[in-house]
């Protein structure tokens, strides 16, 4: 048994022989260390939950376990033998079956085929479609699914597809089943059905990895919980020995004894109109009637666990996502922010949490990235002269302390924190009225984090209305005037930060939610 692992859990069953173990796993993506000395073990007949916020390293660890990724250091041990997985097929052969959140199935093939492809029943050397259909029907019935096996997978809703993925894993003599957010699209009955199947698998001695941000589901089904944070192993606990609040605290990294510096209440005139207001917003992203308002000179923090609707709210109010219901008002007047360009024209800027895909144009230089939105607004013909663009870029590089301070450097080469600053510079160069920041401090080092927080405060001081989303509650509390607490795609409450402490905020964010359909 790995020494590090056993020294960190409290009163766990040391005598249980693990089916598989990940020992001291380290994964580096170039200069970035994504996992640092993480250990994880799977005991047959147990459901082991892997917990941690975005960027904690859960998916990376799972990819190592399922053979999709080779670790930079550390060992994988299955049945007591040290193994090396060259590909997912190797892990599959060992009975390790993943069901990823992005349904990794084939939408253009039938349900039955998705369950059996690669292991099709044969007759006379050719595929026996009839047998496949029959066996698939049996598997699906086992899961309580009334789906016709010969229908196209893609024609079914995501919830059904997820269950088909699970059916595939189960039908293949699975020994370790990895479920990555399996219930995100399921309703109450479907979840109950899934849990029934999981319990059956437990009886068969299958080890199950369960990843979910629904805390009460984690508490209902799992026997053991491992917490990761910032790529590091925090602890392994038995579920019934870990308080919910402690779990959240471990995930979100509350430093003991840290004092939350709370922003003083600003003098907001009672009659002051919000700069930007969203009323009863309904979007494709899952919002069903959410309201929030942003006041000039104020930072509205948004706190909530992953999946609570933080990004959906930001995108709805910033005009990125189309509204299916509700309205957005700018300075009291209703606006139709149909697309990002219109929103930008109205002075509303949005910084996406997905920096790499929706933010930085990696191949362009820092200066080009900074001046991009400004240039787009000016049109293609009227070019910012190279001198002007450089001047602008340099001033922002200095203001935000972007390193390296080279406007011609390829933006993709910068560290996460500096990339975030470049994105901020791009948005601020437009002299906006409203700034919506979705997880601007994600994946960046402490020093840069503090700088960004400071910047957020300065923006408010300059009279801008700021929405600040972060997974780290302390940060939200420290930087905001008011905090909107989200749970389950709804706003639970909006409170002045002075009225909150870390503990109360934690409790609000983590309270068991009423299960709804």
């Amino acid at each position: 048994m790995g020494g590090t692992a056993s020294s960190r859990h409290d009163g766990a069953m040391d005598n249980a022989v693990p089916l598989a173990e990940l020992r001291n796993i380290t994964v580096d993506y170039g200069p970035e260390r994504v996992l640092d000395d993480v250990s994880f073990r799977l005991i047959p007949g147990e459901v082991h939950s892997l917990m941690g916020e975005n960027g904690a390293g859960k998916s990376t660890l799972i990819k190592v376990l399922t053979g999709a990724l080779k670790p930079s250091a550390g060992a994988i041990v299955v049945d007591g033998d040290r193994v090396v997985f060259g590909s997912p097929a190797d892990a599959l052969r060992r009975g390790i079956s993943p069901v990823y959140q992005e349904i990794d199935l084939l939408p253009n093939l039938s349900v039955a085929e998705n369950i059996f492809i690669g292991r099709e029943p044969r007759k006379h050397g050719r595929i026996d479609w009839e047998q496949m259909r029959i066996r698939a029907a049996a598997q699906l019935a086992d899961l309580g699914l009334t789906v016709e096996p010969s229908t196209l997978l893609g024609a079914h809703p995501v919830a059904t597809q997820q269950l088909v993925a699970i059916a595939r894993a189960i039908s293949a003599d699975v020994r370790i089943l990895v479920l990555d957010e399996p219930t995100s699209s399921l309703d109450t009955d479907e979840v109950a059905e899934l849990f029934r199947v999981i319990k059956e698998l437990k009886q068969r001695g299958v080890a199950i990895v369960f990843i979910s941000h629904f805390l009460d589901q984690v508490y209902e089904i799992s026997d053991r919980i491992t917490v990761l944070r910032d790529g590091r192993f925090v602890g392994e606990y038995l579920t019934n020995e870990l308080l919910r609040v402690d779990l959240v605290a471990q995930m979100l990294g509350r430093e003991l004894g840290a004092t939350a510096v709370v922003r003083a209440d600003i003098d907001v005139e009672d009659e002051a109109l919000p700069v930007l207001e969203g009323d009863d917003l309904v979007t494709h992203g899952g919002l069903r009637g959410v309201s929030a308002s942003l006041m000039a000179g104020e930072v509205l923090g948004v706190a909530g666990l992953r999946g609570s609707g933080r990004t959906a709210l930001a995108r709805a109010i910033a005009g990125i996502d189309r509204l299916e219901g509700g309205e957005v008002r700018l300075g009291g007047d209703k606006v139709n922010l149909a697309n990002p360009r219109r929103a930008l024209a109205e002075g509303i800027v949005y910084s996406s949490e997905n920096r790499r895909v929706e933010g930085i144009i990696g191949e362009l230089s820092v200066a080009e990235n900074i001046t991009l939105a400004l240039q787009a607004q000016q049109g293609a013909v009227r070019r910012l002269t190279p001198a002007r663009a450089r001047e602008l870029a340099l001033s922002w590089i200095e203001a935000l302390d972007i390193r390296p301070a080279d406007p011609d450097r390829r933006a993709g080469d910068l560290s996460g924190g500096n990339q975030q600053k470049v994105m901020l510079a791009r948005l601020l160069a437009l002299a906006p009225r409203v700034v919506v920041l979705d997880e601007p401090t994600r994946g960046i080092d402490i020093g840069a984090k503090v700088e960004v927080q400071r910047l957020v405060g300065e923006l408010a001081d300059d009279g801008l209305a700021v929405m600040f989303i972060s997974a780290e509650l302390e940060e939200v509390l420290r930087s905001s005037h008011r905090v909107a607490i989200l749970r389950d795609k709804k706003v639970v409450d909006i409170l002045p930060s002075q009225a909150l402490t870390i503990d109360t905020l934690l409790a609000l964010v983590a309270r068991p939610d009423d299960v709804e359909d």
């Binding site: 997912p88 253009n108 093939l109 492809i117 099709e120 050719r126």
Partner: protein, 342 residues
């Protein structure tokens, strides 16, 4: 009494509607191909009217298969490649190259038992080259097969700068023999072409390799994660396309009695058009070889109609282009509709 029947009627209609809806949902993958069949029927009907009942004759239909045997084979190979979301621009040139290669070998006195496999091997070799570029060097199929196109075309002229007549009786037998059944007839070349379609349909539907082809087109990443042998399947798809190019070279040489290095310029586009018209999506993962066969017949019928009407050949290209556009737009609508479901 009347009230009862009138109550029963709406529910019967509703039942039929529901059944139709169910049929479409279950067989949504076949819709584009069914549409192609409908188009073909319409074309036949239209031609029949236009030519005052002189079109749908056994002689004409038989000739349809005969005249387009080479395109049938090319379309089969192209279907494999397009199903993997790839493309093969080289098939016309490969056809020309293998055609003239065979003609030369036969002309130099080699027996067909040597010349014919050489043609097939030549095609497969170019296909293998393209497949390796695509799979192992991550070259885009467009560029990789473009290189194949250049190679094939150039090599054709290396073999011979001018056409070479084929005197070999065995080869000519392939085209000149007719097996008759009443007014209908078919040649060995026609049989080969139809057999190719049948074998391909079997492979795609009943073998793991065939299903892997569909899987790659559906989601290559998922296919890999599911443990399917994606790399070898992709390369094999291009080898098959090359092989079909070689076979088409044989058929065309038999058909025209000579190898001609200028053959097949633009034929790959005709093949792509036929495959797309036949209901195979360019994005991969959906389509049937039978559909490609229908696409070839659509193409051939249009060609026949135009020649019967004495219209200019240039209309041929315009109509094919317009049809292609129509099908693409329809395909996009279908794909968008089924995508919106999830």
């Amino acid at each position: 009494m009347t009230t009862q029947t009138s109550l029963a009627q709406p529910s019967r209609i509703a039942a039929v509607e529901a059944a139709t809806q169910k049929f479409f949902v279950r067989h949504s993958a076949m819709l584009p191909t069914l549409a192609a069949v409908v188009i073909l029927m319409l074309l036949f009907a239209g031609a029949e009217l236009l030519l005052k009942g002189d079109f749908i004759t056994p002689r004409n239909i038989s000739a349809l298969v005969l005249d387009n045997a080479y395109l049938l084979v090319l379309a089969v190979g192209m279907t494999f490649v397009i199903l993997t979301a790839g493309i093969d621009l080289s098939v016309g040139s490969v056809m020309a190259f293998t055609g003239i290669l065979g003609a030369k070998l036969l002309g130099d006195g080699l027996p067909p038992i040597v010349a014919i496999p050489a043609m097939l091997l030549g095609g497969a070799a170019i296909g293998l080259l393209i497949g390796i570029l695509v799979q192992y060097f991550h070259v885009q199929p467009f560029i990789a097969s473009l290189a194949g196109l250049f190679l094939g075309r150039g090599l054709a002229y290396v073999v011979s700068l001018s056409s070479i007549r084929v005197e070999d009786s065995a080869t000519l037998w392939l085209q000149s023999t007719r097996f008759r059944l009443g007014e209908w007839y078919i040649t060995p070349t026609g049989i080969i072409a139809l057999l190719t379609v049948a074998v391909a349909a079997f492979v795609l539907h009943y073998t793991r390799f065939g299903r892997t082809i569909y899987a790659i087109g559906g989601n290559e990443q998922s296919a890999k994660l599911m443990g399917l042998r994606v790399a070898s399947a992709t390369v094999t798809a291009y080898v098959i396309s090359g092989l079909c190019g070689g076979l088409a070279g044989l058929l065309l040489t038999a058909y025209s009695g000579a190898g001609y290095p200028r053959n097949g310029i633009g034929t790959e586009l005709d093949a792509i058009a036929a495959v797309v018209i036949g209901g195979t999506l360019l994005t991969g993962g959906r389509g049937y070889v039978v559909g490609s066969m229908v696409g070839v017949f659509v193409y051939g019928t249009i060609k026949t109609i135009i020649s019967f009407m004495g219209a200019e050949q240039s209309w041929m290209q315009i109509i094919v282009g317009a049809l292609l556009l129509l099908f693409i737009v329809v395909q996009r609508l279908i794909v968008a509709r089924s995508g919106a479901k999830s």
